[in-house]
C-alpha cells in the first residue's frame, strides 16, 4: 500500500513522530452512535401499508414463559422475576413488516434458560442450561415442549389463545390436564410484542420502553445478528429489564431475544460457567433466557395443536386458580408485618424482594414469625400456580374494572379507623373497604374518602 521507496532518515523520523494509525473499532463506535446506526434501519422506521386490526385483544406470550418454566420447576421460592402483566395490545397502523415478528403464520423456536445453582453450603455456584421447544400456528395456537436434562420431551403444553384453554400433557405419567393458560398468550404471535416495544415504545399498553440502542452484533445460531437493546419497564416501579432483540444482519428477520435477569450476565463469560455441578444444592436462580433457533413457516400439523386429550391419557379439568378476599387480606397483613407493621407503598409489590430473599435463605429457626408467615403464603400461592402479584390476580378476577383503589401507604397494622383499600366486587352493589386492622366492611360510595369511579 505504501509506495514510498525512499527510506531516508527524515522519513523514518516522520513516521516515528506520527505514530501508528489507530485501529478501527466499529463496535465501540456503534455503542457511541446508536442514533446514527438507527438511521440505517428502515424496517423499524418507515410506515408500511395499513393492516387490519386483530379480532381479539392480543397479549404477550414470550415474556411469560420463563415464569411458567420457573413454576413448572417449582424450585424457586424467592424473588419476583420476569413478571409481566398482560394487556390489550392494538395493532399499530404505523409499522414496517419485521419477519418473525409481524403477521406470523407459523414459527418454531427454542428457549434456552440459564440457571445459577448454589451449593448446599452456599459457597460454590455453577450454571445449568435447560431448553424448551416451541411452535406457533396462526391464529393463536401454541405448542410448548419441556425437555428433561437429557433433552427428551417430558411435558407438552398446547394452548389455544382464542378460547383461553391449555392442555398439559405429561408424556411420562400419561396425564392430560385442561386449564386456563398461564399468562395471556398473544393471538397475534409469540413475538408480536417486540414490534410494539420498538415502534410504540410501549409493551402491553402499560410498560414503557425506556431506551432503545444498537449494540453492535453477536452470533446467533451461526448467523451474524444486529443487537437492538431495549430497557423495558418491569411495572410497579420495579425498574427496567434489559432485552436484546436480535435481527439477522442480512435479512433483518427476527432471530433471537436475550434477556438477562441480571443486566450484566453473559453465559459465555460468567465466572462460574465451567464449574462442576454438585449433587446437593440450596438455591437455584434464573440468570437469563435466550429465545433462538427461530424458523419461519415450518411444517406444522394442525393435529399437534389439538386441545383434545389423546387416547391413553387420564384426563382432568382444572379451574382457573384464583384468590379469595380473605386470602388477599391475609397476604396484605403478612406483607405489612414483614414491613415492620406498615402496609406497603404498593399492594402489587408488597415487600422488598431482596429482604424477602434474604429471609428465605435463613434457617427456619432463625426466621421471624412475620418472615415465616409471608414465605408460607408466597409458596402456597406459587404452588397454586398464581405467578402474578396476588393482589393483581384478585383484582383482575373479582373487582369491577377500575374499582380497586389502594391508599394504604404508611398505615400501621391495627389502625382500625384507616382505610387501606376498597373495591367493588363483580356483581355487587356496594363497595368493600379493607381497614388497617385487617377488617373488611361493606360501605356505600358516600362513605369512601373520595370518588374515583368512572
Amino acid at each position: 500500500m505504501n509506495e514510498s521507496s525512499d527510506h531516508s532518515d527524515w522519513e523514518q523520523r516522520l513516521r516515528a513522530g506520527l505514530g501508528e494509525p489507530p485501529i478501527p473499532d466499529f463496535a465501540d463506535w456503534s455503542s457511541k452512535h446508536p442514533e446514527a446506526l438507527a438511521a440505517l434501519i428502515p424496517a423499524l422506521d418507515k410506515p408500511a401499508p395499513h393492516r387490519g386490526t386483530s379480532p381479539n385483544p392480543p397479549v404477550r406470550k414470550t415474556l411469560m414463559q420463563p415464569w411458567k418454566w420457573l413454576a413448572a420447576s417449582a424450585l424457586i421460592a424467592c424473588g419476583l422475576l420476569w413478571f409481566w402483566p398482560g394487556g390489550n395490545l392494538d395493532r399499530s397502523a404505523f409499522a414496517g413488516t419485521i419477519p418473525g415478528v409481524d403477521e406470523v403464520q407459523g414459527i418454531s423456536w427454542t428457549s434456552t434458560y440459564y440457571l445459577r445453582i448454589t451449593s448446599a453450603d452456599g459457597k460454590r455456584t455453577w450454571l445449568r442450561q435447560e431448553e424448551r421447544r416451541h411452535a406457533y400456528r396462526h391464529p393463536g395456537l401454541y405448542r410448548d415442549t419441556i425437555l428433561d436434562e437429557a433433552g427428551t420431551p417430558r411435558v407438552v403444553e398446547i394452548t389455544d389463545a382464542r378460547s383461553g384453554k391449555m392442555l398439559r400433557l405429561d408424556l411420562v405419567a400419561k396425564t392430560a390436564v385442561l386449564s386456563p393458560p398461564v399468562g395471556r398468550p398473544d393471538v397475534r404471535g409469540p413475538f408480536a410484542w417486540v414490534g410494539d416495544a420498538l415502534r410504540e415504545r410501549l409493551v402491553g399498553k402499560t410498560l414503557p420502553v425506556k431506551s432503545v440502542a444498537l449494540k453492535g452484533q453477536r452470533n446467533v445460531d451461526g448467523h451474524s445478528a444486529n443487537i437492538v437493546r431495549a430497557f423495558i419497564s418491569k411495572g410497579d416501579d420495579q425498574g427496567y429489564a434489559r432485552h436484546d432483540f436480535l435481527f439477522d444482519a442480512e435479512s433483518k428477520q427476527f432471530v433471537g431475544l436475550f434477556f438477562p435477569n441480571d443486566g450484566n450476565f453473559d453465559p459465555e463469560t460468567a465466572a462460574d460457567r465451567e464449574n462442576p455441578a454438585e449433587k446437593e444444592w440450596s438455591t437455584m436462580f434464573p440468570m437469563a433466557a435466550l429465545e433462538h433457533q427461530i424458523v419461519l413457516n415450518p411444517k406444522l400439523e394442525l393435529a399437534d395443536f389439538s386441545i383434545e386429550p389423546p387416547a391413553g391419557y387420564s384426563f382432568e379439568k382444572k379451574p382457573q386458580p384464583t384468590l379469595s378476599e380473605a386470602e388477599i387480606i391475609a397476604y396484605l397483613g403478612a406483607a405489612a408485618r414483614f414491613n415492620d407493621n406498615q402496609f406497603p407503598d404498593s399492594p402489587f409489590v408488597a415487600f422488598d424482594s431482596e429482604k424477602f430473599n434474604a429471609a428465605c435463605l435463613k434457617e427456619a429457626a432463625s426466621q421471624t414469625a412475620a418472615e415465616q408467615e409471608l414465605i408460607a403464603l408466597h409458596d402456597q400461592f406459587k404452588l397454586r400456580e398464581i405467578f402474578r402479584s396476588p393482589v393483581r390476580q384478585f383484582v383482575d378476577d373479582h373487582a369491577v374494572e377500575n374499582s380497586f383503589h389502594y391508599v394504604g401507604a404508611d398505615v400501621k397494622v391495627g389502625e382500625a379507623d384507616r382505610i387501606v383499600a376498597w373495591y367493588k366486587p363483580r356483581g355487587g352493589k356496594s363497595f368493600r373497604a379493607i381497614f388497617g386492622d385487617l377488617s373488611v366492611k361493606e360501605v356505600s360510595e358516600k362513605d369512601l374518602p373520595l370518588n374515583l369511579s368512572n
Binding site: E3, S4, I41, S224
Partner: protein
C-alpha cells in the same frame, strides 16, 4: 472477493449494519488522516473522524453516487475537523505535547514532526498524512482527493522537499521556532 464501496453503501442503505461496519473499518484510517491534517491533537482527530462517520451514517441515503463514498466521507471529515479545530482554539484542549510521555526524545520528535507538518499548506499536509500516517497508496489518495495519481505524486514530492529540510536538520527542535 472484496465488496466494493458502492455495494457496501447500497447494502447499508437498506439496513445492513455490517456493511457499514466494513466501510468504517476500511476507511477509518483515511478519515483520521484527513482530520489530523487539520487538527494538531491526534485524539481530537479521532473524535473528528468518528463524528464524520456518524454524519455519514445518518445521511448515507443522500449520497447520490455510491461509487464516490470516499470523496464524500473526506469532505464530511474536513468540515467536521475544521469545526472542531475552531472549538479547539476557543477551549485550549490538551494537546499531545502537554501529555505525559515516558520517552522525552519521542516527545521532542512528535513536536518536531508537528511543527514540520504545519509548515505545509492544508492540501500538502493532507497528502502527507494520508500517505505516511494512514498508509494510503498514491492511487487511493488520488481517488479520495478526486485528482490524478500524477497530481498526488507531485504534491508529495514538493511536500517531501520541505519536510526533509526541516526534519533532516539535527539541531531542529521545533519548539524553538
Amino acid at each position: 472477493m472484496e465488496r466494493s464501496d458502492a455495494e457496501l453503501v447500497a447494502a447499508a442503505c437498506v439496513g445492513d449494519l455490517a456493511s457499514f461496519g466494513t466501510l468504517y473499518r476500511r476507511h477509518y484510517r483515511l478519515a483520521v488522516g484527513i482530520a489530523r491534517s487539520r487538527l494538531s491533537d491526534s485524539h481530537l482527530a479521532e473524535d473528528a473522524a468518528q463524528e464524520a462517520f456518524a454524519v455519514a451514517c445518518r445521511t448515507l441515503s443522500t449520497l447520490k453516487d455510491q461509487n464516490r463514498f470516499t470523496q464524500w466521507l473526506g469532505t464530511i471529515c474536513r468540515r467536521t475537523a475544521t469545526r472542531l479545530a475552531e472549538c479547539q482554539s476557543n477551549h485550549a484542549p490538551l494537546t499531545e505535547d502537554q501529555e505525559p510521555v515516558s520517552d522525552p526524545a519521542l516527545a521532542t520528535l512528535r513536536l518536531q514532526v508537528r511543527e514540520a507538518l504545519w509548515t505545509l499548506d492544508d492540501d500538502a499536509r493532507e497528502v502527507v498524512l494520508l500517505h505516511y500516517f494512514s498508509g494510503l497508496s498514491h492511487a487511493e489518495i488520488a481517488q479520495t482527493l478526486d485528482v490524478s495519481t500524477d497530481a498526488v505524486h507531485g504534491r508529495l514530492q514538493r511536500a517531501r522537499r520541505k519536510l526533509a529540510l526541516v526534519l533532516d536538520s539535527p539541531m531542529q527542535t521545533g519548539a524553538d521556532e
